[in-house]
């Protein structure tokens, strides 16, 4: 899969953001870098997609935000998961599990350990 965000499947970005925030609260760039890390650099989320997604998810009640100090002492907006966000991550993870199994079987791919 090419790394361009335009190729991101609908809903994929949301799951990646939720997953990125599962361990700790992060600011925008932090989330972008964490997603890059998690996917071994396959996804490089640009600001143009990231921020609308963050604001949309915050409105949906999955994320909550607060202002805090970033590494450089710069004031930055930190996002963290809400309870509904965590629940949503849970259900999305299960869904993706099913989809990837099904797609793998359909395309005759070798099962990889995740």
């Amino acid at each position: 899969m090419a790394g361009s965000e335009s190729d991101l499947l609908q809903g994929t970005l949301d799951v990646l953001i939720l997953k990125a925030l599962a361990l700790q609260e992060l600011h925008g760039m932090g989330i972008s870098r964490r997603i890059g890390q998690m996917t071994n650099g396959a996804f490089d989320v640009k600001a143009g997609s990231l921020f609308p997604a963050l604001h949309r998810m915050e409105q949906a009640g999955w994320l909550t935000s607060s202002w805090g100090q970033a590494e450089t002492n710069r004031r930055a907006k930190f996002y963290s998961l809400t309870k509904t966000g965590r629940k949503h991550l849970q259900t999305e993870t299960e869904r993706w599990e099913r989809i990837s199994l099904a797609m793998g079987a359909a395309l005759g791919l070798r099962q990889e350990a995740r």
Binding site: H27, G28, M29, G30, K46, A47, G48, S49, F51, P52, H55, R56, E58, Q59, A60, G61, A70, E71, T72, R74, R75, A76, K77
Partner: protein, 906 residues
């Protein structure tokens, strides 16, 4: 949910803070990215530049975030509405004409259909009203009758007990009674009902109980009364304790046993019943006549209803009732009543048939059915016209819209957004039109009801002015579809084509394909408005003809009212003395010059008809059925009818030798040629077949109208009321010196002082009454004139629009023509030719339609042919002149085009 609400709240009230936060968040992002790059060894400046590049356009991200914000849809909508209002306000003429057209189409149809629905189509508020039928006998009952839809009491009993088709039958007789409660006396309307009335209708009691079959066994035995809910509410203020108490009806003590359920005013909506009395109390309620106990079969007086058995159709029931009726008729024809009739009469009588009519039909609905359907058809035509007009308006605007839309697409507007914006605009227009139309409908229905019913009846009559929502929805949908089809679709079609040519085409050519369509629409409009104008012309002339007819006597300074002292239990002698004292009393009233009394009201559609026998023609009494009345001395001079020959009645005409005054038609039709004075005739008496021609003619009067203005003066005979069988109901006519209206209040007061127990009814001037008797014609004439005028206006506006558009489109052509030497007159002539082709085609189509449809309104016309050429020519001429004016203005503008400007515009 809560997070969304908070977001919406922030969006609406803290927008600036949201935007500031976003800006800070984004700049923090850029700084963090560049700090990362500095850490990996870049120079500060280079890192910042790279970070900016990587982040992309900040403004685009900002827009991206704003786009997903909750509330943004709402804001877009507000923007669209604002933009829509601005666009509409920029073309005020277009908007006003469009909104006016919509309002007219919606308002006229809603108002008219609501009236039609309630007056003509509505059903009685009873259980399963569609299963209820009126049982009538078609044919002559050979005897006395209260109306064509009545049968005799014994006939009702025979049908009730012998039929196999009804689950129940009831009969009803409506009458006026004098109600005494405390020291008030008032006239009220009562329905005398059989015991099966309430059970068969399925009407229950709101208080107490209703009349039951047990109340209907023995004559005179059940002095009970049930009040209608509205009468109980208005007259007794909804006092529950009235149940069980007694009230005086015609001075007879009656116990109130209950109040009928709300909304039910009897089975004759045109005469709402205020109370219900067992029909066994007929003698007490109508002291002047019986009919119940004497069981006369030649007196048809009860209206009869039946409820069809489940699964039985009215058609089946009607045919299976014929044998039953026939056996009853076979029996009746053998009775002594029939001895005097000829064999031909008997055969005729045996051909009578049962006719079942819808139970909810009534006098008003039958009378109004055709006029209201005609008016509804006219408003339907107005709706079509409104659609055509709207389509035309939209089409004329389409080219301008196309360019605007192309421009907006070019600067990056999404097509969906444009569609939504156009939808919003159309909805705004329709919404405004609908609101205005609804207001119009509300006003119109109130106005129409007032036009049609006297003020005090509007409250009683069960027509509500609430417009019918189905028609409202239908008209709205039709107009909405029209404006979408002709406004949105062309605009969008334009938007789909190449953007560049649309913008470049500065000459406003637009889609030339819409021009023939516009012309066709103008033709349709002209045709429809000619149709409406012709109809209006016919109805207005009918009204004028009827007004011009006159009753045959002077109607100014004439005032009338009615009363019935016999309802107060006054004996015949008491009533006679009452009228004699009344005569003297009223003659003494200042302002009154003469007083006349008559048992039959003039021009109120009532008639007392009776068969007579002549001196020589005793064998064939059936054809001779003049209308009759009993009058007092001074009646003819009060009404203003001269005595042509012989003399008027006097106080002395009380003796056993009966005398009559006849009109000229009577003399011509029933008396042998020669001097009618001294001739004799007699009334046929079905109790006494040996009756002799014992009435002597003492005077002759000219022919005057009797029942109504339309009907030619019938043969009439008048008797002295002193020689009548009994004194009861009388109509009092007063000739006044000044304006009779100014007398009315004093007259009321004087009558109260004269006898406070006898209520007077129907006090009005003769002119008001005549105006009132023409109300249906007036309603139809004034409404059709209004519709016709509006239709013409719409057609003319449509024509103007198309011509103006053509001129704009051909400005360049006109410029070239003028440059090449065409004169102003030539240009005007050319344009006018174009206009007149449309108008002439429209007029011809309209004329054909008008002639084809004219027969449908033949019955509503008076004194002129439905194909009356002058009306058609007049309507065509006025339409042609108006259209000519509408075409001339753009044509004149075309002729004054300055060739240099016109050519430079390209």
């Amino acid at each position: 949910m809560i997070s969304r609400l908070r977001a919406l709240w922030m969006y609406v009230f803290r927008r600036n803070q949201l935007d500031d936060d976003l800006d800070e968040e984004l700049s923090a992002y850029v700084e963090l990215v560049s700090a990362e790059k500095v850490r990996s060894g870049m120079s500060t400046e280079e890192a910042f530049r790279n970070a900016r590049r990587e982040t992309g356009g900040v403004e685009q991200i900002r827009q991206g975030v704003r786009d997903i914000r909750v509330g943004v849809t709402l804001e877009r909508l507000v923007q669209d509405v604002r933009y829509g209002i601005r666009t509409l306000a920029k073309n005020p003429i277009f908007s006003l004409v469009a909104i006016g057209t919509l309002a007219l189409g919606i308002g006229a149809n809603t108002a008219m259909f609501s009236l039609l629905d309630q007056v003509v189509l509505s059903l009685l508020p009873v259980k399963q009203p569609e299963r209820l039928v009126r049982v009538t006998m078609a044919g002559d009952n050979y005897g006395d009758s209260y109306g064509p839809d009545r049968i005799s009491w014994p006939m009702f009993e025979d049908l009730r007990d012998g039929n196999q088709v009804f689950t129940g039958m009831f009969s009803v007789f409506s009458t006026s009674v004098t109600l005494g409660h405390g020291n008030r006396a008032e006239q009220a309307t009562a329905e005398l009902v059989s015991g099966s009335y309430f059970p068969v209708l399925g009407i229950g009691a709101a208080e107490g109980r209703t009349i039951a079959p047990d109340d209907d066994k023995v004559p005179d035995s059940q002095p009970v009364v049930v009040l209608s809910y509205s009468f109980w509410h208005n007259y007794f203020n909804g006092d529950r304790s009235i149940v069980g108490r007694t009230i005086a009806l015609n001075s007879y003590k009656m116990t109130v046993i209950g109040v009928a359920q709300p909304g039910f005013d009897g089975v004759q909506p045109e005469i709402p019943a205020q109370m219900f009395v067992p029909i066994m109390m007929k003698t007490e309620m109508t002291p002047h006549s019986d009919g119940l106990k004497d069981r006369r079969r030649r007196l048809a007086w009860v209206k009869t209803f039946g409820r069809l058995k489940p699964g039985m159709s009215a058609q089946q029931a009607q045919s299976s009732l014929q044998p039953l009726l026939h056996s009853i008729l076979e029996m009746e024809v053998q009775l002594p009543d029939f001895r005097q009739f000829s064999n031909e009469d008997r055969r005729q009588f045996l051909r009578n048939r049962i006719q079942l009519l819808p139970g909810s039909d009534n006098w008003l609905s039958e009378r109004m059915r055709r006029p209201l359907w005609i008016l509804t058809a006219l408003t339907g035509a107005v709706l079509l016209l409104a659609c055509a007009n709207l389509a035309n308006l939209m089409l004329a605007r389409a080219p301008a819209r196309e360019r605007e839309i192309a421009l907006r697409l070019a600067i990056g507007a999404a097509r969906a957004r444009i569609v939504r914006q156009l939808m919003v605009e159309t909805l705004l227009l329709s919404g405004a039109g609908a609101a205005l139309g609804l207001a119009l409908a509300l006003l119109a229905d109130r106005f129409l009801l007032h036009l049609y019913l006297p003020a005090n009846e509007v409250a009683e009559f069960v027509v509500s002015p609430i417009p019918d929502w189905r028609v409202l929805a239908l008209a709205l949908c039709l107009l909405l579809l029209t404006s979408l089809a002709f406004g949105l679709v062309p605009a969008l079609r334009g938007s789909r084509t190449e953007i560049a040519p649309s913008i470049k085409e500065r000459s406003a050519t637009g889609s030339a394909a819409s021009v023939p369509l516009c012309r066709l629409l103008v033709v349709i409009q002209v045709a429809l408005s000619l149709l409406l104008l012709t109809g209006a012309g016919l109805f207005v002339r009918t009204l004028r003809n009827l007004r011009g007819l006159g009753p045959g006597f002077p109607t100014d300074h004439l005032v009338e009212f009615a009363l019935d002292p016999s309802l107060n239990g006054y004996s015949n002698d008491q009533t006679e003395s009452f009228y004699e004292r009344l005569n003297v009393n009223l003659l003494a009233m200042p302002g009154v010059s003469s007083v006349g009394l008559s048992s039959m009201p003039l021009l109120k559609a009532y008639a007392w008809q009776h068969a007579i026998i002549g001196e020589t023609s005793a064998g064939e009494p059936k054809e001779a059925q003049p209308v009759l009345s009993e009058v007092g001395p001074g009646y003819f001079s009060t009404i203003g009818i001269p005595i042509l020959e012989g003399r008027d009645f006097t106080e002395r005409d009380r003796g056993p030798v009966k005398v009559a005054v006849i009109n000229q038609s009577f003399a011509k039709r029933y008396l042998p040629p020669g001097d009618p004075i001294g001739r004799r005739f007699g009334l046929v008496d079905d109790q006494d077949p040996t009756a002799l021609p014992n009435i002597e003619v003492i005077g002759v009067i000219p022919d005057t109208k009797y029942k109504d203005l339309r009907e030619p003066a019938p043969p009439q005979a008048y008797f002295s009321y002193f020689q009548g069988p009994s004194f009861r109901f009388m109509n009092v006519y007063l000739r006044t010196e000044g304006d009779p209206r100014q007398l009315e209040d004093r007259l009321q007061e004087r009558m109260r002082q004269f006898d406070s127990h006898v209520p007077i009814v129907g006090l009005e001037t003769m002119n008001d009454q005549i105006g009132w008797s023409l109300r249906t014609e007036r309603l139809v004439a004034s409404l059709s004139a209004i519709f016709g005028g509006l239709a013409m206006l719409l057609a003319v506006v449509g024509l103007y629009g198309v011509m103006a558009y053509t001129v704009t489109r051909r400005t360049r052509e006109m410029g070239i023509r003028i440059a090449l030497g065409a004169t102003r007159a030539r240009i005007i002539g050319m344009m006018m030719r174009e206009a007149s082709v449309m108008v002439l085609v429209g007029l011809s189509v309209g004329a054909v339609l008008a002639l084809a449809l004219a027969n449908l309104i033949r019955n509503q016309l008076f004194g002129l042919d439905p194909h009356d050429p002058w009306t058609l020519i007049g309507a065509s001429l006025s339409l042609a002149i108006a259209a000519g004016a509408a075409g001339f203005i753009p044509a004149a503008r075309a002729s004054s085009v300055d060739p240099t400007t016109a050519l430079r515009r390209e």
